[in-house]
Symmetry: C2
Subunit: 197 residues, 2 copies
């Protein structure tokens, strides 16, 4: 038997102190703050981390080596072709990738029933990769995540494999994905208070 | 309270009949069959679906519209540049994408403790996107999934945005990702019987 229900209120108090600190240090993506506040106002949930979704240009020694990866550019909003080209211009070594990542929210729930309630609501609003990420004595953790994603190799060791016109195309697709998942975040913000306790 | 534990043995019998049918119709990815057999030999688990991971070329009206998407080529093994070029040659309309997808296994567990045991084993073996996908009276379902993935736009409405040299590069990266996740599948096959009941 896991003891996350017994530990819920203590863990929530700790997480809320951490969130207040992160907010005061401007370390929380701004457009997701109203959603976090709604979730944390509920009795049976609290947020532990969040990203509002992003477009980025990243240099990595090889795919998946997060530790040694460097962001050359990162945007939580629609991005211009010029901004992306400027980031690409900083590339020197390793693999160069253009990436889109969906929003991710981690939300602890008081019980399995509460976790499933949030999970099903999120899936129904288009966050189709949502799941229960982990279960331990400390926390029962729901991950809210959507399907939008791009992983496009652009070059290696300073050499570019694509032209400016291609960059223009993929920036257009990325911005369309970003508008889609920002819309889903807004709908979740609208519904989470009405549908859950 | 969810009743998946009470329903486990009945659901397992039903799933095993479905698997035998799928096997007889050659509808199961061959290289994942030994792993499925190991998992299904355990008392507290059964598999409900699986994909051993793949590289594909897909035409879709827009990203995420699975219903109207068409595979122009799909491989559960390393692929050659010629095979990919041949698939690309069939493209006529919509968005053209080159995709890599990690293996995905769905495994029902008898209890939350059993689900967490499998989840933690899978994460530890490199299947870092593994999670509990859903909880209902019928099933407590673990998803085993890894991080390897590519989503590369190649063109639209018959027009190609990249050249043959670029295709060569991304096929090389895709095959490296495929070797990586096939290795993880093998390790899971080796360990699942020893570590779980």
């Amino acid at each position: 038997m896991f003891l996350y229900t017994e530990n819920f209120d203590g863990q929530k108090a700790r997480a809320m102190a951490g969130l207040r600190k992160a907010l005061s240090e401007k370390k929380v993506d701004e457009d997701v703050i109203p959603l976090l506040e709604r979730i944390n106002s509920l009795d049976n949930y609290f947020t532990t981390s969040s990203c509002s979704g992003r477009v980025s240009v990243m240099e990595m020694p090889y795919f998946g080596d997060k530790v040694n990866s460097v962001w050359l550019g990162k945007w939580h909003r629609e991005v211009s072709v010029d901004e992306v080209l400027e980031a690409i211009g900083k590339h020197r070594k390793g693999q160069l990738w253009f990436l889109v990542r969906s929003p991710i929210l981690h939300v602890a729930a008081r019980s399995v029933e509460d976790a499933v309630g949030l999970l099903n609501l999120a899936v129904g609003l288009g966050f189709k990769y949502s799941n229960i990420k982990s279960v331990s004595h400390r926390k029962l953790l729901v991950e809210i995540r959507s399907t939008e994603r791009m992983d496009v190799p652009l070059g290696e060791d300073g050499e570019l494999w694509v032209d400016g016109e291609y960059i223009e195309r993929i920036v257009g697709i990325a911005n369309a994905q970003l508008r889609r998942f920002k819309g889903k975040l807004k709908r979740l913000e609208d519904e989470v208070g009405a549908k859950l306790k």
